[in-house]
């Protein structure tokens, strides 16, 4: 028996609790037994008042501070790379952990303290496709879809209600749809495109707080050696190591620029 990840899961056909924002009257549906019990009805009325009050504050009604803001994408780094047999000089990936270090470090300078994985929202994420480039451009609409998923933002400063999501290679793969059609040994990873689509989706969603979407710059090191990754020998691996380190350095720098732009934007918005 093996662990078998599910690639797609249909959105459940019952709502999240956010439905109470639009339909607080749902809580007026009362079991028959309760209707005959005045004490319970009083308790229920009080709870509806409390909940409605709390939610109107949380959702921004009457509170100018609670407005959802989604920053634009700050483009630093190509965020796209070809991999596989024909790729002579593929970019390097900056993992979630490596990116977290850069982002938290840079944000800390502006007094923002990001804690990991505490803000989860049900949002539409882009359905990605690594074989998209095999098709005519612009890509077919079928591959520009999105699907609903629970997104746990990579970092959140609870005090300032600022969250960020870093679109990494692993996110790109996690959001991938089932490819119908030709596949190839060569493929593209497009973190910038995925980040843009996520940013658009977040902008359309009613969220409380301020949000940023960063992306893996997919930095390409200078091509000082002909890439022969498929000839994996200890000698080649040793020669390629400096190349990879150079790429990582570049990627960190590009990501740092994204974060700095975001900080400047936060200041302009009066968030910090």
């Amino acid at each position: 028996m093996k662990v078998m990840p599910i690639r797609r899961y249909k959105e459940p056909r019952f709502p999240t609790r956010a439905i109470l924002d639009a339909h607080p009257e749902l809580l007026r549906l009362v079991p028959k037994r309760w209707r005959a019990n005045p004490v319970v009805l009083t308790a229920l009325a009080a709870t509806i008042m409390i909940i409605s009050g709390c939610r109107s504050v949380a959702s921004g009604k009457g509170s100018p501070a609670a407005v959802s803001r989604v920053a634009p994408i700050f483009q630093h780094g190509e965020g796209r790379g070809a991999f596989g047999c024909q790729a002579v000089n593929p970019p390097v990936f900056l993992s979630e952990d490596e990116a977290r270090q850069v982002i938290t470090q840079e944000a800390k300078k502006a007094g923002i303290s990001f804690a990991p994985d505490i803000n989860t929202k049900s949002v539409r994420v882009p359905t990605t496709d690594r074989y998209e480039s095999l098709w005519a451009r612009p890509p077919r609409p079928a591959y520009r879809q999105s699907h609903r998923a629970l997104l746990t933002f990579d970092g959140t400063d609870e005090r300032r209600a600022v969250s960020y999501e870093y679109v990494s290679e692993s996110d790109f793969k996690a959001w991938e749809g089932k490819h119908k059609g030709l596949v190839s040994l060569a493929y593209d990873i497009g973190t910038l495109d995925a980040a843009k689509r996520l940013q658009e989706s977040l902008s359309r969603t009613r969220l409380t707080g301020t949000y940023a979407v960063f992306y893996d710059p997919l930095a390409t090191p200078k091509e000082n050696e002909i890439w022969r990754g498929h000839l994996s020998t200890p000698e080649w691996d040793a020669r390629l190591k400096p190349r990879e380190e150079q790429g990582m350095q570049l990627a960190r720098e590009e990501l740092r620029k994204q974060v700095r732009d975001f900080i400047a934007w936060l200041k302009a918005q009066g968030v910090i």
Partner: protein, 385 residues
């Protein structure tokens, strides 16, 4: 925060799926219990000031150490009076030593009692046997009546194994019929589950979904853990992650010899140093605690691309260890279980929501449902009296 005191390694039963067997490790002393409480009080002050500290009496069979329970509760109450640190208490027992005195005596009456019971005779006696290998089903009948008479909210803990899976729905309905309303069910993840057992499990869940729907429409209030947790993981996005196993962060288990562990499943006879996070005499080893937490919290490679990972229990390091021997390696049985129960639970919730069933909506969308439910029960009792 919870402090689980393994009062003794001894047990008056020999359940076939027990992860604490072979019951070596002796008894805890009052000095060890007091030192453990002191340690936990300090941890609460440091990490979650103002919160009540939960003391869980565990074993072996904790009722074999009844005097120690009374002494420990008394000790905690004295701390409460002196410092204001609040406490609450719980015991998980096989029930054989439960009696009216324990349930009503002022020293122990406030302890929340959870009973282990696997349902109908065929399922219960298949695994829950005494030292002579005899099933305990018959002996529990009167004890269940007594328990529910004094503690109507007592939860029942049921374990499903490959041998008993065909009785899952029947057992659940049996326990519900006996009067239990908090039904906590779990699989024996360490057992040898085969594809045909899992197919049977899906059939059982489908039956249980029908039962759940029927009883909810009848306005019966109850909690059936596998469905409730999954429904809640959608209604409250991120709840699964927030309430996940935090290995040693929210609970500490203390072996009879005073060694500290991050969860009950690691305690054994208290000699395993690999998963120990300190000792009552030397304190909590924060480095070990953080190391285990980080190892458990890291996203599992094999689950990274899974569409249901935010609603899944794969992060439970204790269950993973039980099944695979490693906390960072996901149990394939757990994976199969989650893939089975989630769509069934979601379809069930969708049906009840579509019908705008009032009890379903109150139960899953009203944060204060437990409180209103208590008010209802209290007023009904007053009328009855």
């Amino acid at each position: 925060m919870h402090l689980t005191l393994h009062l003794t390694a001894r047990c008056n039963m020999r359940c076939r799926y027990c992860y604490a067997a072979p019951h070596l490790g002796g008894d805890m002393t009052i000095e060890t219990a007091k030192a453990a409480v002191a340690l936990a009080v300090e941890a609460v002050k440091r990490e979650s000031p103002g919160q009540s500290l939960g003391i869980i009496f565990f074993g072996g069979e904790p009722l074999l150490q009844r005097d120690l329970i009374i002494e420990t509760v008394g000790h905690c109450r004295r701390i409460e009076a002196e410092t204001g640190q609040l406490f609450h208490f719980k015991i998980t027992t096989n029930g054989l030593l439960l009696d009216e005195d324990f349930l009503t005596h002022p020293d122990t009456a406030e302890i929340f009692v959870a009973l282990s019971h696997d349902g109908v005779r065929e399922a219960h006696d298949a695994n829950r046997v005494d030292l002579a290998g005899n099933g305990s089903f018959d002996r529990l009948q009167a004890i269940v009546d007594l328990l529910l008479k004094h503690k109507p909210y007592a939860p029942v803990m049921m374990v499903v194994t490959p041998q008993t899976v065909a009785h899952y729905a029947e057992s659940l309905k049996f326990l519900f019929g006996r009067g239990f309303r908090y039904l906590i069910c779990s699989l024996d993840y360490g057992a040898d589950w085969q594809p045909h057992h899992l197919a049977e499990l899906r059939r059982q869940y489908a039956q249980l979904a029908e039962w759940y729907e029927r009883e909810t429409l009848n306005e019966e209030k109850f909690y059936f853990s596998p469905f409730e947790v999954k429904i809640s993981s959608h209604v409250y996005p991120g709840s699964c992650r927030r309430e996940r196993c935090e290995l040693g962060r929210r609970q500490i288990s203390v072996a009879p010899n005073g060694r500290l562990y991050p969860c009950v499943q690691f305690v054994g006879d208290g000699t395993d140093a690999a998963f120990a996070i300190g000792h009552v005499e030397t304190g909590i080893d924060e480095a070990a605690r953080q190391r285990l937490y980080a190892l458990n919290a890291a996203e599992k490679t094999e689950c990274r691309a899974c569409a249901i990972r935010e609603r899944c229990n794969h992060y439970c390091g204790c269950l993973n260890r039980q099944a695979t021997g490693r906390i960072d390696r996901v149990s394939p049985v757990l994976c199969a279980h989650e893939r089975s129960v989630l769509p069934i639970g979601d379809r069930l919730a969708a049906r009840l929501f579509k019908k705008k069933d009032p009890l379903f909506i109150q139960k899953h969308y009203n944060d204060l449902f437990p409180l209103i439910s208590l008010v209802e029960d209290a007023t009904c009792r007053t009328v009855a009296e």
